[in-house]
């Protein structure tokens, strides 16, 4: 279990200071796969490095299995090499002057918990077999492909049987196809080890497919935490709605009190919409988030359905669907339609959307 409380870290450079992590708190339960997701520069890596002990937080406390490893109040500091944490770096950090075997054996041979010679062989072999590199044990490390290096880095992190595993964008250096394969394999591996894991990524698809819990970060803060379905279906604010999947964001004003089933009416530039308000933003100026795939050409007949009438401005065929732009009043909507059912560009279209798919939320993060 990892507990992080009120973590803050400021970077100082000659000319400026930068608050990279701003009062971040979260808990990762035993065996959980926890993902920090956010745009570049939002402080994910810094948070992860604080947990690892490679950065020293200015404020806050970090506990692993209940024992503080870093605490600004109690003045506790356990150096990173004594935290028993496995880590996979973005660059993989495979030592180029060693063989595959030596790379994995390194933590066992020289680490805090030294292991005797015979056991080293066995454990390294086991770890390599786990990531299907057993047959490459004697290969020089630089002679591995990207995917193999990535698995080697995993094996090296696993071999110490750490309490905690930290992964910093481990898939970002792989090409698209390999990344997809490794995504599934990674989750499988980590889950079979049962190790508590923090995973850092800026790819929403990785976060959604791999995680038990996702924390979305922005400007050094966690703006929403929840399971993947939650995060996708009930984004707490416009930032999350747009960052996780694509959304059409439309400003509006709430004009009614919520009905029995939580529906409010929102006035937008071109008319009024029935919206659901999952995060309780039920008054004043708000944003309405509408996912492109929820806008349909045919009415479903439900009671709270909205209709938007506009002109099809552009359509781009991308295989399993067509990405379209529909102009409603002055507002352009991204819409995803089935290729067979896409009207010709320039024609008038009616788009239907259920109220539960129109999400009213606070505009600010």
């Amino acid at each position: 279990m990892i507990e992080v409380e009120h973590l803050s870290l400021t970077y100082h450079s000659a000319k400026q200071t930068h608050l990279a992590v701003d009062d971040v708190s979260f808990t990762v339960k035993q065996g959980q796969f926890y993902t920090l997701l956010g745009p570049s520069g939002c402080g994910k890596t810094t948070t992860l490095r604080c947990v690892a002990g490679l950065e020293r937080p200015d404020l806050g406390e970090i506990r692993i299995d209940g024992a503080p490893v870093s605490s600004s109040n109690k003045d506790v500091w356990i150096p990173p090499n004594r935290r028993s944490i496995g880590m996979v770096f973005q660059s993989y950090a495979i030592w180029p002057h060693m063989t595959v075997f030596e790379n994995v054996a390194f933590p066992l041979r020289y680490g805090v918990k030294k292991v005797s010679g015979r056991d080293v062989r066995d454990r390294v072999q086991k770890a390599l077999d786990l990531v299907q590199l057993g047959h490459l044990a004697d290969r020089a490390a630089p002679h591995l492909s990207g995917g193999q290096q990535q698995r080697l880095a995993l094996a090296r992190a696993f071999v110490m049987e750490p309490k905690v595993l930290l992964l910093d964008e481990p898939l970002s250096n792989l090409d698209a196809k390999l990344r997809e394969e490794m995504r599934i394999e990674l989750r499988h591996l980590v889950k079979s080890m049962g190790v508590t894991t923090i995973f850092v990524t800026h790819e929403q698809i990785e976060a959604l497919t791999l995680s038990d819990v996702i924390a979305v970060m922005k400007n050094g803060k966690i703006v929403q935490e929840g399971n993947p379905l939650d995060i996708y279906q009930r984004p707490a604010n416009a930032f999350v709605a747009d960052f996780i999947g694509k959304s059409n964001l439309v400003p509006g004003t709430v004009t009614t009190n919520p009905s029995a089933n939580g529906i409010v009416r929102v006035d937008c530039a071109w008319g009024s919409l029935a919206c659901s308000a999952p995060s309780g933003s039920t008054s004043g100026a708000i944003m309405v988030a509408i996912r492109p795939e929820h806008l349909e050409l045919t009415p479903s007949g439900s009671a709270d359905e909205n209709v938007l009438v506009g002109t099809l401005e552009a359509a781009a065929f991308v295989g399993n669907m067509t990405d379209c732009i529909v102009k409603v009043g002055q507002t352009s909507f991204k819409v995803q339609l089935h290729p067979d059912r896409t009207p010709v560009v320039g024609s008038q279209v009616s788009l239907y959307i259920a109220a539960r798919h129109c999400l009213a939320m606070r505009a600010d993060a």
């Binding site: 803050s8 150096p79 990173p80 660059s91 950090a93 030592w95 933590p107 680490g111 805090v112 880095a153």
Partner: protein, 606 residues
């Protein structure tokens, strides 16, 4: 010795003003810096390295400070109390010989610069911008050219152009019938010529690096807009390369300031002094007590001058890199076909190597084979013998050889160990104010080595006399040689450490190991190629180092070049030539090893 990346990193790493100034901000009070984070006590190696770097830096810093203090102190340095005044400065600027020496130094440095550029710049251009064949060979010859001891070529030139015995002069007077000698090498211009020839490789290496960094597209676009060849060179190439070339010039000027070999061999016996040789006469006068105060004042003046030059150099370097439109990857420089004129290029380079290396060496060989120096003639050939070699004072020479060998092994080793510690502290540790250490490591590069020699002499004689009596031992040489090389070594280790991804070490930390193991098992193996290269290079430079040794040697801690020096100063030119040849022969296997290491590790000297 310097080269491209070294300078570049010197720039990158030099503290950029207030790097350590941490401002607490209102919204996040930084926790106080805990030493347990910077140097966990379970991590003895980190502590050792920080201590080594700290102590070493203190030593380096203390040397200029002591020189400055002594330069103001009246009376002898041992006097317990003494007044402070500008007395020694007054004596420097009123003593006509001292004043003359300062003026000489400036003229000498300027001539040196001119000669070095006349040969170095065109050679660099030929290598980087034309289709001259056999470029790697030229690079190798130039690099090895730096290694040839300056005193050897100085001897050769003196034998050639000495007003009385110089071969060329004698030839003109006896055979052609001139009334007096047409050439005289024993002048400031003559010495500048010899020094410039031996520094041309540095001008070559530095400007070649600058030229290589200029995007040829800039020259091509000039060509597309209709400029002709000379206009492109003048208006584009030279313009863009200018800050870099100027920086190379300043660097050579600084070397010229403190050069000892050439003024020592050629000038001293003819009573023409430059800064370094005059300094020596003040420290070890024949007929008087040493003038330590005056030497300190003189050193301070030169320190100030070279400090200013170094500042300028630093600024130019940053300009050079701002200018630079480097793409790094995938461009081919615009190559000029030499066509029929390739012979001209070869002629030019041939003349350079002939003048700077082969002729002087040949004449030293000639001199070593003769009982006394004379023109080639039937008689001369008859009198050739091994007698100079047989008459070498072997006890002295063997002692020198032993000492030199010890230094040659220890100096590079210790310097590199310190350099790794410096680089690690500056680039990898979290010690507050670590950038200051990089500045300290850069100091011996900015201040002439000979000044450090003087400083350590003063420290050893007066400060540590009763504490650590190491004046006259090999250790004092070891110490000053290490200081003299630390800038070069840290530049080398810095530039490689920068290229080593930090995560390689962090991965080791996360594997549960401490700093000691990281350095041993991860860093050193990765740095090994550079370290081997730098080790051999420093060993070679140590082997031929005369300047620093001359100031600090006594009869017990002689090195081989000092043996040559003392033979020469006592007028035994035959023996001096013989030992010089011996020394050069001993360098050959090491140089071969160096060459092998360069090829193996693929490190370019530029």
């Amino acid at each position: 010795m310097t080269d491209g990346p070294v300078n570049r990193d010197g720039l990158v790493l030099r503290p950029q003003g207030g790097g350590a100034a941490i401002q607490p901000t209102a919204w996040a009070k930084p926790g106080r810096i805990s030493w347990r984070f910077i140097m966990p006590k379970e991590d003895p190696w980190a502590i050792v390295m920080v201590c080594v770097v700290g102590l070493f830096s203190l030593f380096i810093l203390s040397i200029p400070v002591i020189i400055i203090i002594l330069s103001f102190r009246e009376g002898r340095p041992i006097d317990p109390v003494s007044a402070y005044s500008f007395m020694h400065y007054a004596s420097v600027f009123t003593d006509p010989v001292a004043y003359r020496a300062l003026i000489n130094t400036i003229t000498f440095s300027l001539v040196t610069l001119l000669v070095a550029f006349v040969f170095g710049l065109p050679a660099a251009w030929l290598v980087e911008r034309t289709d001259l064949p056999a470029k790697p060979l030229l690079y190798t010859l130039m690099t090895l050219g730096i290694l040839l001891p300056g005193f050897a070529t100085a001897m050769g030139w003196l034998f050639m152009l000495h007003p009385r015995i110089g071969l060329v002069n004698v030839f003109f007077m006896r055979v052609v019938g001139f009334a007096e000698a047409p050439f005289n090498i024993a002048t400031i211009v003559g010495m500048g010529w010899v020094q410039g020839l031996s520094l041309a490789p540095i001008a070559f290496i530095m400007t070649a690096a600058v030229l290589r960094a200029i995007d040829p597209a800039l020259e091509e676009s000039a060509q597309m807009s209709g400029a002709n060849f000379f206009n492109i060179i003048r208006k584009v190439t030279l313009r863009l390369a200018w800050p870099g070339i100027l920086a190379a010039g300043i660097y050579i000027l600084t070397i010229g300031f403190a050069a000892f070999d050439v003024p020592g061999i050629i000038g001293m016996s003819n009573r023409i002094f430059t800064f370094s040789t005059y300094l020596l006469t003040q420290l070890a006068p024949h007929d008087d007590l040493p003038h330590y105060g005056k030497a300190a004042a003189l050193s301070t003046v030169v320190m100030a001058a070279s400090g200013l030059l170094a500042l300028w150099y630093g600024r130019l370097q940053s300009q050079a890199y701002r200018y630079q439109v480097v793409t790094g990857k995938g461009y081919r420089p615009r190559i000029l076909g030499l066509g029929r004129y390739v012979w001209l290029a070869w002629l030019f380079l041939g003349v350079y190597f002939l003048l700077s290396k082969f002729l002087p060496l040949l004449i030293v060989v000639w001199a070593s084979a003769l009982p006394y120096f004379q023109l080639p003639s039937e008689n001369a050939f008859k009198s050739m013998s091994w007698s100079n070699f047989e008459n070498i004072p072997w006890d002295m020479t063997l002692l020198g050889l032993r000492n030199t060998a010890i230094l040659m092994v220890l100096v590079p080793t210790i310097t590199l160990a310190c350099a790794v510690a410096f680089s690690w502290v500056v680039l990898r540790s979290k010690v507050p104010g670590r950038l200051a250490f990089d500045f300290v490591a850069f100091l011996p590069h900015a201040i002439p080595n000979i000044v450090f020699g003087v400083g350590i002499l003063l420290v050893a004689l007066f400060l540590l006399r009763n504490v650590i009596p190491f004046y006259g031992t090999l250790w004092i040489l070891l110490f000053v040689f290490v200081i003299g090389r630390i800038s070069y070594a840290t530049r080398m280790t810095n530039s490689t450490l920068i290229q080593v991804h930090k995560e390689l070490e962090e991965a080791a930390t996360m594997s549960g190991v401490g700093t000691g193991t990281i350095i041993r098992r991860v860093l050193l193996p990765i740095l090994a190629p550079t370290m081997i290269y730098a080790w051999i290079w420093m060993a070679l430079l140590t082997f031929r180092e005369l300047t620093l040794a001359v100031i600090l040697t006594t009869k017990d801690n002689l090195t081989l070049p000092v043996v040559v020096w003392s033979m020469w100063s006592s007028g035994d030119y035959g023996a001096a030539s013989a030992i010089t040849l011996l020394l050069i022969c001993l360098m050959v296997p090491l140089t071969a090893f160096y060459w092998w290491a360069v090829r193996k590790t693929g490190i370019q000297t530029t």
